[in-house]
């Protein structure tokens, strides 16, 4: 790795996120390849890379939603399942059915479910927390609206409020700025900074290169592998970006693809591009 993580700041507690030699392959497509990553507490990490670089896959793998082919992931020094309550998640907006019969408040309340455990219903206190989270994203007046009646930006704010309601220490956000108006984007980034000030750690998948250096203090340049990772100023170099976006490693992706195919299919063709 070009700039390997050099963090001695948090030697006492385990790092919010540590990934070692992680490889993830969908049935026929390898997506992540030998990923090493250590995220220090209190940082905002932007995950940047071209389409199909495996950004969302990384988030999903951390959440245990995808099987891991090799390597391991630790959240606060534990496997994901043991650290569930310390993780907040903001999925991509297209991933849910917006016609679903719930209103904005219901969605935010879902963020409390993890703490409730089985057989318990959300209490009044939970509802108050949910309302205050809605207030933080300036959506109180929309609390009783069915979610399909919200604009894209408002929907994203509801998702953010839900993540806030999870009261987690590590937040994973998948493209929170997609399809969002400028005011919402500013509001979201303000909330992210606030969370950071409270010592929370944020990992944000982002596709906009122009705003990335402004938003994040660390950047993970991803393209199937870690192209570069570290402080924004160190990572955001022309050479690194060209490495990530230039497709100069077509051999790597080709070999990985044909290898995965052979494994799953018993395909005997050689290196089909």
């Amino acid at each position: 790795m070009q700039s390997s993580s050099t963090t001695q700041t948090n030697s006492k507690s385990a790092a919010p996120l540590e990934v070692h030699d992680l490889t993830v392959a969908y049935t026929k497509r390898p997506v992540l390849y030998g990923i090493d990553l250590k995220v220090p507490k209190g940082s905002i990490v932007g995950v940047v890379g071209p389409n199909g670089a495996g950004k969302s896959t990384l988030i999903k793998a951390i959440m245990g939603l995808l099987p891991v082919s090799s390597g391991w992931i630790k959240v606060f020094g534990k496997p994901f399942k043991k650290a569930v309550t310390r993780i907040g998640y903001v999925p991509q907006r297209e991933s849910v059915d917006w016609d679903f019969p719930v209103n904005a408040l219901d969605v935010v309340l879902m963020g409390r479910y993890g703490r409730l455990g089985p057989f318990k219903r959300p209490s009044k206190a939970d509802k108050e927390i949910a309302m205050s989270c809605l207030e933080k994203v300036k959506m109180t007046s929309y609390a009783t609206r069915q979610i399909s009646n919200l604009s894209g930006g408002q929907q994203q704010r509801v998702f953010l409020a839900r993540a806030l309601a999870q009261e987690s220490d590590l937040y994973l956000m998948d493209e929170p700025f997609v399809g969002v108006d400028a005011t919402t984007e500013a509001a979201i980034i303000e909330i992210l900074r606030e969370l950071q000030a409270q010592g929370k750690t944020l990992i944000v998948v982002h596709h906009d290169l122009t705003t990335a250096p402004e938003y994040f203090d660390r950047i993970l340049l991803l393209n199937m592998r870690v192209v570069a990772y570290g402080k924004t100023a160190d990572v955001f170099t022309f050479e690194n970006l060209q490495n990530a976006y230039g497709g100069r490693l077509s051999i790597l992706s080709e070999v990985a693809l044909s290898r995965a195919r052979k494994k799953f299919d018993g395909d005997t063709r050689d290196n089909v591009g």
């Binding site: 959440m63 059915d97 679903f100 019969p101 879902m110 479910y113 219903r121 994973l172």
Partner: protein
Amino acid sequence: MREHFFPDFDWHTVFVQPWAEYGDNSFWIVLMGFLVSGTCGLVGCFVILRRMALVGDAISHSLLPGITIAFLLTNSRDTLPMMLGAIAAGITTVVLIEAIRHSSRIKPDAAIGIVFSSLFAIGIILISVFADKIDLDAECVLYGELGFIPLQDIAMLGGVEIGPEPVIRMAIIAVIAIGLLIAFFKEMLVTSFDPGLAASLGINPTRYQYGLTLFLSVVIVSSFESVGVVLVIAMIIFPGATALLITDRLPKAIWLSILFSLLYAVLGFHLATWLEASIAGGMTVIAGFIFGLVWMAAPKRGLLTKLVKRSFKRETTSP
């Protein structure tokens, strides 16, 4: 025997006579109809939201070989073996669909179609081959017959007759359904809405998916006797789908679906009495009719409502 398709409508014979002269029978029939469609509707709300409607259809068809084999093995119509056979068939269906999907490039819709039709065919063949040994009538399987409910064995509790056995069984299932709904409402809600979030909250979406499928099989098997394998899917989809056209909130939709179920049972019974038709068929016709009505004239989203509102707006805005 009569001459015309639509007999003359006579208020007395259609609405009064069934209650005045055969009050007991009518009560059990309508109660059973309500319990069936109410329970199906309750489960159905989640089935719709998870886009499993056609999986439900597949399960309802596949139960046939399950109960037939259970019947052949035990030679009895006891509830337990039938139930076990049906659950086994339900699980087999889901497992087969998943297996075909994962082991080949067949898309889920085709996998569903292949699996349920094959299993249903096996069931029909078994029934027609062992016709002399099975008193499962193929037509009964297709239509179901609510009219026979009062003729079934009477369940006893502590020496007191409490009602026809199928009704009592269905009532127990309904109570279980309500209990499960209350206990797992928030888990069902979040796994249906956003499986990713559910996983991040430590709620395993697959577990609830399979739980729902399992319970769906139980509900279907206890219902099919009354409404038949095809119409059970009507009872599963119609109440929830109609309710979801009216309201934006899930709890409200569930209440509404129960209300609709009651309407189906009562109106369907009287429609069938009038036409001398299958009661389950009558209930489905009512269900379809109410859906059409709501679709056209629901308060906020009805097609006609929108039309009227639009023309009203035009009138007020134009000078």
